[in-house]
C-alpha cells in the first residue's frame, strides 16, 4: 500500500468536471501544462479559472479552446511575448466573463478560506474601478477603536474555496509530500482547495521530513489527493531549478494565437504530439 494516491495525468483530468472552479498557478509556480493538454483534449467546458495571481499560456490556451466561462485574475498575458491573444479576443467578443482583480486580493481571498473566516480585509483598492464591478467585495468603515485609522474605509473580500487545484512540481517524496521550495503561494492554494492534484517531474525515495530544511520546502501530503508523474510536465513553461521556459515555443505560440484559425492549427499539433518535447 502506497502512503499516497499515485495517478496518471488522465486520472487527474477525470477529477475535473465541467463548471469547476480551478486553481491556476502563475508562470513561476509550476504550470501543469501536460495536464492542461489532456484537459483540453477532454473538451472540458465552462471552467472558472482562479489565477494566483495571473496566468500566461495555460489560461490563454484553455480560453482559446473554448473551455472557460469565467476567469478571475490580476493579469492575463504572455509575459515577455506580450498580450494573451485568445484572452483578448474572448474578452472583446464577450465569450468569457472576467472578474478583474489585483494580486493581493487574490491572495487574501484564499487566505480567508485558509483560516476559515468569511472574509479578509485589505487596504488599497478603494478609488480603483476594479471595485465598481465587484459586488462580492464590500466596503466598511473600520470598526476598531485603537487599530488602523479612525473612520478609514477598508475592503472586505469574500473567502473563496477552489473546487480543484492542479500544479506541477519538481518531485514528490515517498510519503507523497511535494517539494515546492519558496513557492509558498502553492500552499495557500492547496489549503483553500477541496481537491488538490499534483504532477511531478519524478517520484523520489527521499523523506523530505527527515530534515527541517527540506521539510520547510514541502507541501505536506495531507493536502494532496493524488500525484502523477509527468516528465517535462510544465513545458513549454519553465520549472524553477529544472528547466527554463522554451522561449522558441512560447514565441511560436504567441504568433499562432493571434487569430483563431492559426491557434486551432497550432493546438492540433500540440494536442496530438505523442510526448512533450524535451526541455533543456
Amino acid at each position: 500500500m502506497l502512503p499516497f494516491e499515485k495517478m496518471s495525468v488522465n486520472e487527474i483530468v477525470s477529477e475535473v468536471h465541467d463548471g469547476a472552479l480551478l486553481g491556476v498557478p502563475a508562470d513561476y509556480s509550476g504550470v501543469p501544462m501536460s495536464f492542461t493538454k489532456e484537459l483540453i483534449k477532454k473538451k472540458i467546458k465552462n471552467l472558472k479559472l482562479y489565477c494566483l495571481p495571473l496566468t500566461t499560456i495555460q489560461g490563454d490556451m484553455l480560453i482559446g479552446s473554448g473551455c472557460v466561462a469565467e476567469i478571475e485574475a490580476a493579469a492575463v498575458s504572455l509575459g515577455e511575448f506580450g498580450q494573451a491573444p485568445r484572452f483578448q479576443d474572448a474578452v472583446i467578443n464577450q465569450k468569457i466573463k472576467v472578474r478583474d482583480s489585483t494580486c493581493p486580493a487574490l491572495h487574501a481571498q484564499l487566505q480567508a478560506t485558509e483560516k476559515s473566516v468569511p472574509f479578509m480585509p485589505l487596504r488599497g483598492i478603494i478609488g480603483s474601478d476594479l471595485l465598481k464591478y465587484r459586488d462580492d467585495w464590500k466596503v466598511i468603515e473600520n470598526p476598531m477603536k485603537n487599530s488602523g485609522k479612525v473612520g478609514e474605509e477598508v475592503i472586505l473580500l469574500p473567502a473563496v474555496q477552489l473546487d480543484v487545484l492542479v500544479f506541477h512540481a519538481t518531485k514528490a517524496d515517498k510519503n507523497g509530500n511535494i517539494q515546492i521550495g519558496r513557492r509558498r503561494e502553492l500552499a495557500t492554494l492547496a489549503h483553500a482547495s477541496k481537491k488538490v492534484f499534483v504532477t511531478v517531474e519524478e517520484f523520489t525515495d527521499e523523506d523530505f521530513f527527515q530534515s527541517e530544511v527540506h521539510a520547510s520546502a514541502s507541501l505536506p501530503a495531507l493536502y494532496v489527493d493524488g500525484i502523477a508523474e509527468s516528465a517535462n510536465g510544465a513545458w513549454p513553461c519553465g520549472l524553477t531549478e529544472k528547466y527554463s521556459p522554451d522561449f522558441d515555443e512560447l514565441k511560436t505560440y504567441s504568433l499562432a494565437a493571434r487569430n483563431q484559425s492559426s491557434f486551432d492549427s497550432y493546438m492540433k499539433g500540440f494536442l496530438n504530439a505523442e510526448n512533450l518535447q524535451a526541455a533543456q
Binding site: Y28, A73, C103, G127, E152, R184
Partner: protein, 247 residues
C-alpha cells in the same frame, strides 16, 4: 567612450538610477528590464560608497529576497519595508491615475490589456512609485484614463502612505505634485524641446523653471553598467540584455 555610443536604454537606466539614491529597498516587478537594471546599478554605486541598497527583483531567483511566496511582495510593501516600486500603464492621466486593463468602456472594451497586477495595493502603500512608460504619446498620456486600475490620489479618510513621485517616458521625466494633483516637467530627452513634449502629451502639466535635458551617464557609471550590471541582467532578462549589450 564617445557620446554617440551610449544606447538610449542606458540613458533611461541612468535617469532611473538617479532617482533611487536615497532608498533602502527598491523592488522591481515582472517584465521590467530597464527598472531592474537601474536598481542593480544604484545598488552597485551605493556599495562603492559603503552604503547598502537592497534590491528585490521578482523575476529573478538570485535577487528575489522573499521566502513567503508570491504574497510577500505585497505584505512587505504594506508593512512599509519597500521605498520604491515601478508601475506602468496603458494609459496615465493628469492626476496620475493608471490604467492597465484596456481602452474603451469597461467591461465592453475596444482593446484589452493584461490587467491591474498588484497596482491597486502597491500604488497606495509604497512611498515612491515611479511610473515608467516608454511610449510617450497622446494615446498613452491622456486627459482621463478609461479605467482606473489604481488612482493617483486618494481621499483623506483612506490609508495611503504611498503614491506616484515620478513619470519617465522615452521623451521626458516628470515629477508629480500631490498637492496640486499635477505632473511637472523636469527633464527632456536629447533632441527634443518643450513644444515637442506638449504636442505628445494628452494632459496639462506644470513646467520646472530649471528644465534640463536628460542627464547622460558618466563614463564610470557606463563602465559599471556594462561590466557589472549587464551580466546580472542576463540572468533574468536574457533577451533584453542580449539586445542592448551582447549583440
Amino acid at each position: 567612450m564617445k557620446r554617440y555610443e551610449i544606447k538610449f536604454e542606458e540613458i533611461l537606466i541612468s535617469i532611473l538610477c538617479d532617482l533611487l539614491s536615497d532608498d533602502n529597498h527598491v523592488a522591481v516587478g515582472a517584465a521590467s528590464p530597464i527598472p531592474g537594471a537601474a536598481a542593480l546599478l544604484a545598488k552597485e554605486e551605493q556599495k562603492q560608497i559603503r552604503k547598502k541598497l537592497r534590491v528585490t527583483i521578482l523575476h529573478s531567483l538570485r535577487f528575489n529576497n522573499f521566502t513567503d511566496g508570491a504574497r510577500e511582495l505585497f505584505d512587505c510593501a504594506a508593512q512599509g519595508r519597500i521605498d520604491t516600486f515601478f508601475l506602468g500603464g496603458v494609459q496615465i492621466d493628469h492626476e496620475a491615475n493608471i490604467n492597465l486593463v484596456g481602452t474603451g468602456k469597461y467591461p465592453r472594451l475596444d482593446k484589452r490589456f493584461s490587467g491591474s497586477f498588484g497596482s491597486a495595493l502597491m500604488y497606495y502603500v509604497i512611498p515612491k512609485v515611479i511610473l515608467f512608460r516608454e511610449e510617450h504619446s497622446p494615446r498613452t498620456l491622456v486627459k482621463k484614463v478609461d479605467f482606473i486600475s489604481a488612482p493617483g490620489i486618494s481621499d483623506k479618510n483612506l490609508y495611503r502612505p504611498g503614491g506616484p513621485k515620478y513619470l519617465l517616458t522615452n521623451k521626458a521625466l516628470f515629477s508629480f505634485n500631490k498637492r496640486n494633483r499635477r505632473f511637472c516637467l523636469e527633464q527632456i530627452a536629447p533632441g527634443l524641446n518643450q513644444y515637442d513634449i506638449k504636442k505628445q502629451t494628452g494632459f496639462e502639466y506644470d513646467i520646472n523653471n530649471q528644465i534640463n535635458n536628460f542627464a547622460l551617464p558618466s563614463k564610470s557609471r557606463l563602465d559599471i553598467l556594462r561590466k557589472i550590471i549587464a551580466p546580472m541582467v542576463s540572468e533574468f532578462y536574457p533577451h533584453f540584455a542580449k539586445k542592448i549589450w551582447f549583440s
